[in-house]
């Protein structure tokens, strides 16, 4: 190819005229030189061409690489331009109604590198005007420390941040962090618990749902209703002040699925500042505290008597003389000194009658029954703070007798509320739960529907003729049972003036929807209660208030108190002398 070009341009290898020998000789040399030069040129051209081709192939490959294939070191512009959602390390918690009760927000903290701060005194004074809750002397000490890094203040407000930024002090820096916030403050303190500075749950649901909250993005929904929670807390707080009680506890429980609508333990604390609250206020009386809860246990005792078949509604027990067993004497608080029918034993809260009932079905039956309704194991509620019930290791006759009226066994208020729910709802036991469930949980049958109906009648009768009159919220057919128990002293034996007064109720009694439990720790009687501080005087009125205020929110329709249908449903032949 190259040769043909040469020809075109006038070069030729052919001789044009006859040549002499010398000419030929000369020409041969010339020709040889020409061919040599030509060969060299061709080789050079080949090498250059090959190099160029190689370079272009390289560039080609690189272009394919750049355009078609993606590289790890490439800047991720595409990812940034893709829309993202705001994510947090910890999912929020909402109440039953969807109101936010725990959430994570980005907060700004102020840090400093003291080595870079030129005038610590001046900087401290300027900062002191913005961070008013830290004394200037302390700021100066921080800023003049020989360290690379110090936290000046955690969680500063946006306004403070703006002002500090405007100061323009070199060496100060802002760090964005996530922190847990409880907008509703004290309201659900013992339910939610709290987290530490590193956002790790260390009590309450924050602890038990640590994994769920940190792995899932969606909110955890509680069965607690914030509005009902407030009503309950408000009423218990008022009663605590009125009767100078050292503590209080209350539960509202859905009787038909075990969902806890409200759970209060007082005194409580602000989970936003758990460190500022007293140790006492961190104690959860509702699930961690176990108490001898007294006569509320007569609900279970009556159910045992009816369910075991050892008694019926017209059985009678001689309560005229105290029982002497081992070295103890069992006496009645409201002594009637006569033969009492089963409903009367319940309404007058006769210890003697209850003991005789228990003697009929025996200790083994009693223990099995209490086991079945969960009284002998820690409450299954989703909190880390659950108390282990205390009961005798060997179930002697004296234990059986005292347990029949709620002494010698200590359980948490949550145990009683869940137990009573299973007694009144038709006989199915549901595990109490603080988390909203979409499907109805499977319960276990513990008593027959017939026994359950009898218990409902007894509890309603107690509100008409017994110790529960003060808990009657008109229109809601409340029924319940009081409990007044002397507290066990730390030294052993019972304290005289320190008692636990409680009331456990359900409403509406003909078809119970909710169980309400209220307990006051060491209430003192006042003029209004004629010095009494028993469950009927101090706890029952709280029930009335809670039911009246919360029932409309809970969607319980009030019924005409004179409704024949409902009254017939709950009718019970009441004792003659109904004044207690």
């Amino acid at each position: 190819m190259i040769l043909s070009h040469w020809k075109k341009l006038g070069y030729t290898t052919k001789p044009v005229k006859r040549m002499t020998l010398s000419d030929l000789k000369r020409q041969a040399t010339l020709q040889g030189q020409q061919t040599e030069a030509l060969e060299t040129g061709r080789t050079r051209l080949m090498i250059t061409g090959a190099l160029m081709a190689l370079a272009f192939t390289g560039i080609g490959f690189r272009m394919i690489d750049v355009m078609a294939l993606s590289n790890v070191s490439e800047p991720k512009t595409r990812n940034i331009s893709q829309s993202q959602n705001l994510t947090f390390d910890r999912a929020p918690i909402v109440d039953r109604t969807g109101m936010l009760v725990a959430t994570t927000v980005k907060t700004v903290s102020l840090a400093a590198d003291p080595r870079k701060i030129m005038d610590p005194q001046d900087s401290a004074e300027k900062l002191g005007q913005i961070l008013t809750d830290i004394p200037v002397a302390k700021l100066y000490k921080m800023l003049s420390r020989k360290a690379k890094f110090v936290w000046v203040d955690r969680r500063i407000t946006p306004t403070q941040q703006q002002k500090i930024n405007a100061l323009g002090i070199p060496g100060l820096e802002f760090r964005t962090q996530e922190s847990r916030v409880y907008p509703q403050g004290n309201l659900m303190a013992h339910v939610l618990g709290y987290t530490n500075v590193d956002n790790k749950g260390i009590s309450g649901l924050e602890k038990s749902f640590e994994e769920t909250l940190t792995s899932q993005g969606e909110a955890l929904r509680l069965s607690i209703d914030g509005r009902v929670q407030h009503i309950v807390r408000d009423e218990v707080q008022k009663a605590m002040t009125e009767f100078q009680a050292i503590g209080g506890s209350a539960i509202v429980l859905d009787a038909n699925n075990g969902q806890v609508v409200s759970m209060v333990s007082l005194p409580d604390f602000d989970p936003n500042q758990p460190g500022k609250a007293s140790v006492e206020s961190h104690f959860n009386r509702t699930t961690l505290g176990v108490y001898e809860l007294g006569s509320t246990f007569k609900i279970f005792n009556s159910a045992m008597a009816l369910e075991s078949g050892t008694a019926n509604m017209s059985s009678s027990y001689d309560a005229s003389k105290p029982i002497r067993i081992a070295r103890f004497t069992i006496n009645d608080y409201h002594g009637k000194n006569r033969v009492l029918s089963l409903p009367e034993v319940f309404i007058y809260s006769s210890n003697i009658g209850s003991a005789k009932m228990a003697e009929a079905f025996g200790a083994g039956y009693q223990k099995d029954f209490l086991q079945k309704i969960g009284m002998l194991s820690p409450s299954p509620v989703e909190l880390p703070e659950v108390g282990r019930p205390q009961y005798p290791k060997t179930w002697r006759p004296i234990n059986m007798v005292t347990i029949s009226y709620g002494h010698g066994i200590a359980v948490s208020p949550m145990h009683v509320a869940a137990g009573v729910a299973s007694m009144v709802n038709g006989g199915t036991h549901y595990q109490p739960s603080l988390i909203m469930q979409d499907t109805k949980p499977k319960g276990t049958r513990v008593i027959s529907a017939r026994s359950s109906k009898a218990i409902r009648k007894l509890m309603r009768a107690n509100n008409i003729a017994g110790s529960g009159k003060k808990s009657n919220a008109i229109g809601y057919f409340v029924g319940g049972k009081t409990g007044t128990a002397d507290k066990v002293k730390a030294t052993g034996g019972y304290a005289d003036r320190a008692r636990i007064s409680s009331y456990v109720a359900a409403f509406p009694m003909h078809k119970p929807k909710y169980v309400v439990y209220v307990m006051l720790d060491e209430p003192k009687g006042n003029k209004k209660t004629f010095g009494y501080a028993t469950g009927g005087w101090v706890a029952a009125p709280i029930i009335k208030q809670i039911v009246t205020r919360a029932a409309p929110i809970l969607g319980v329709t009030p019924i005409d108190p004179t409704s024949e249908e409902v009254n017939r449903e709950l009718a019970l032949k009441l004792p003659q002398d109904s004044h207690t």
Binding site: Q84, L86, Q184, L187, T548, P552, P558
Partner: protein
């Protein structure tokens, strides 16, 4: 002929190159815009998140109770007797022809007749 083809190729190449360059610049500009928008969305989401917490804070039941006590003293908690079932509600009186002059009279008679006829119709 050959020249035209070459010129055509060159022109085509220039058009394609400038077109590609233009599109690339456009895409880059749009991507910048998108990044900014997404940043803004995150910012807004942060704001919404903050406002939700604030909403919950201002909806604390104890605060609302205090506000109601101070600002709506005539509002009282509902009582059971204020609830009436649908069945016990009186029937509606059939509309009478109302003339402007008789309007007030008709209203009062209606009001009284409700309490008299309630539930009988």
């Amino acid at each position: 002929m050959r020249m035209t083809i070459i010129v055509c190729w060159v022109i085509g190449f220039i058009i394609a190159a400038s077109g590609l360059f233009y599109v690339t610049l456009q895409v880059e500009a749009l991507e910048d815009k998108l990044v900014n928008l997404n940043r803004q969305i995150i910012k807004e989401q942060e704001n919404i998140h903050m406002l939700q917490a604030e909403w919950s804070y201002f909806n604390r039941p104890d605060r609302i109770q205090k506000l109601t006590e101070n600002l709506l003293p005539q509002m009282q908690p509902v009582e059971a007797r204020q609830f009436v079932s649908f069945q016990t509600l009186p029937f509606r009186i059939e509309d009478e022809k109302v003339t402007p002059s008789s309007a007030t009279v008709t209203n009062t008679t209606q009001a009284t007749s409700i309490s008299h006829n309630g539930g009988t119709e």
